[in-house]
Symmetry: C2
Subunit: 410 residues, 2 copies
């Protein structure tokens, strides 16, 4: 006898099977956010296909994809279901438990990037230590396991302290700049008390932030994109300018080489973002420190969709499948990406009308939306604009992004 539940399950299975062209590999993406969504865009064009492990059917990536498996990325069984028959497993976030990845690998799953690489993106202290070992320039740092550690570090760096949660932080959640030793100590007491493992590093006198992105295949091919300037507002990336204006050729080459070295030494596969600080050394020359690593397509790489021969999403798919990497040549002298972050209140003007207003003024604005409902500060989409003049291009991208969220011009 066929029950309703059986019938639904078998209809779903047949439906999901139809999502994959015969002879073409399936990539299973763990995560249902905009990164998975934009991977799907590229997968469609390449004739590859994606399976998404999603929390719900209306999540950003699940919304637009046919083969959606509903599940929890912390459940080994759900992960197993998601990767069944897939040529590779990859991620739109770094939060899948390492032990599950090891189990899946033992079971023959092709996990890219693997857990030994990923751990360097999951734990900021592990990352810092590993980077220092590699000889990458990093700010002075220390593990903070007690109030004493905190006091000692405050003294050591003369009060220029940046305190960080070792795990789980994003968009500036998990980063604090205490103004006094007292504030630091009280923060540390509270956080350690709540079970949050901590580290601290020297607060760097930033001139600006940069991002160096690279992709690497399991076979070891690497390809770097031009280094970009990234603008962070309250810890969230709000803009990226590609290539980074005024970055000297020598420094550009040095940073690209550094990103490749990190990718290779850490065994990263897929896209890697190396977030950097640019400061000024005693001689007044630009100096670089590595901030953190993300092992997946990254917000500072969204510009590649419209400003580069190969986007980070296509490159990530090629890389995790161990295919030859694509050209990272620019298609325009400058491309600016501006994030559209949900305003405090969602304006009454419907989103489609906002898009139209933007396009009336800027027909060249490339609007990317993630299919998400409004929430203050939420990443709802981004706008890319390419051009020849940095200032004009920046103005167009920022104006457009502002209008998308505020329904008025800045």
């Amino acid at each position: 006898m066929t029950t309703s539940a059986d019938a639904v399950a078998s209809a779903h299975a047949a439906f999901h099977d139809a999502a994959h062209a015969p002879g073409m590999p399936i990539v299973a993406v763990i995560g249902d956010g905009q990164l998975a969504r934009m991977m799907h865009t590229e997968a469609i064009e390449l004739g590859l296909s994606l399976r998404v492990l999603a929390g719900s059917h209306d999540a950003s990536a699940a919304q637009v994809t046919k083969d959606v498996q509903i599940g929890d990325y912390t459940s080994l069984d759900d992960l197993r279901r998601a990767v069944s028959g897939a040529a590779a497993m990859t991620f739109d976030h770094e939060h899948v438990p390492t032990e599950h990845l090891r189990t899946l690998i033992a079971e023959g799953v092709n996990v890219q990037p693997g857990p030994d690489a990923l751990v360097n993106a999951q734990d900021k202290l592990v990352m810092r230590k590993r980077l220092r070992e590699l000889g990458a320039p990093v700010p002075p740092f220390a593990a903070i396991e007690s109030v004493e550690d905190a006091r000692a570090f405050w003294q050591a760096v003369g009060g220029a302290v940046c305190l960080k949660a070792r795990r789980g932080g994003y968009d500036g959640h998990g980063v604090w700049f205490p103004d006094s030793e007292v504030e630091l100590v009280s923060l540390v007491e509270k956080l350690l008390g709540a079970g949050t493992p901590l580290m601290a590093e020297k607060k760097v006198a930033l001139v600006r932030e940069l991002s160096a992105m690279v992709a690497r295949t399991p076979s070891g091919e690497t390809k770097a994109w031009p280094v970009v300037e990234s603008v962070q507002t309250d810890g969230i990336c709000t803009q990226a300018i590609a290539p980074a204006p005024g970055l000297g050729d020598a420094l550009q080459q040095e940073v690209r080489a550094l990103a490749k070295t990190i990718a290779t030494e850490l065994g990263v596969t897929g896209a890697l973002a190396v977030e950097l600080f640019e400061t000024v050394d005693v001689a007044g020359q630009p100096e670089i420190y590595v901030n953190e690593l993300a092992m997946r397509p990254h917000n500072t790489g969204h510009w590649t969709q419209d400003g580069c021969v190969t986007s980070q999403f296509e490159q990530h798919l090629r890389a995790v499948l161990d295919y030859p990497l694509g050209s990272t040549e620019l298609t325009a002298p400058v491309t600016v990406m501006a994030n559209t972050l949900g305003a405090d209140e969602d304006p009454a003007m419907p989103m489609p009308q906002r898009m139209q207003e933007v396009w009336k003024r800027y027909p060249e604005a490339k609007i990317h939306l993630y299919g998400k409902g409004h929430r203050p500060g939420r990443k709802l989409g981004h706008v890319n604009v390419s051009g020849t003049d940095v200032e004009a291009t920046k103005k167009a991208a920022l104006d457009a992004a502002y209008f998308i969220v505020h329904a008025q011009w800045p």
Copy 2:
């Protein structure tokens, strides 16, 4: 009591609802081929969403889309189901019966392009007459309703006859070049006998074929892409070179203006392809004739995905929703599109390996595959390559496309 069928239906309905972000318009696309598939790619990025009326779940567009309605585009009820709740209805082919479109419009559906425009793309004789009325240059032509019509036309054009089925032709199916009056007569007898309405036109001494694409909104905004050269092999478009090499500025402007006039006068909305013949006039100067019209994204516009700020698929969606149109500026001096048409035999080398071989040699090749199984002559995908030099770019695109289907270099 819930039956299995009810349960499946309600699970499907909930699933399809999840495919559409709240507040964002749904575009219903009638057709499940690669054009609908590539519209979906752009819809994802724009945050719009597509519903596809497909013949089966594994069809090219259905494969990658969440909201798939299975049905027949000649069934009014299936069309009604597909457009329910959609902001606009559009097409990936021109074969939906005109009377159904009129009924749907009467029921309040926003059909773009509408039946009065579409009829000019559905019937080559109607199209020719309308183009002549507009003053567009067309080859001499006549309706062929009898053997006498055929004989008279043969005499009138001195034997340079191109016979065409008025409806339903594509990729050269439905186009004949009889070598003698006898052959013409026997063809005409056979075809008319089989109920195929016919027309004939003068066989033009082609120098080459061009394609002028333009998009138009219901409000009347038009935007033209640069005119391209299209290479047809046995009636199938095999290459497009953008912009058309050596086309003088004056002729380029004239042809773009002509395409805009046709779009406006015929009330076309969405993408319009105007296929053209370039010949030489008595003074040795290039001369243009209009061949035919397609009211949808077109094979000669695939290059826009990688060579233009706004692709034809994004532009089509913007146009049918009556949104402002995007910039049609080039992103590279030259872009060549080469079709990958199924070889006589499908080589043993798996498709993913062929892609890898192509990318090893041409990391800049943009491979687009449609998720279709092999069939000789079938359009399985295309390759776009951008560059600076026409010959080198052409070689890369043609080599790549050749390898994709033959698993060897030409």
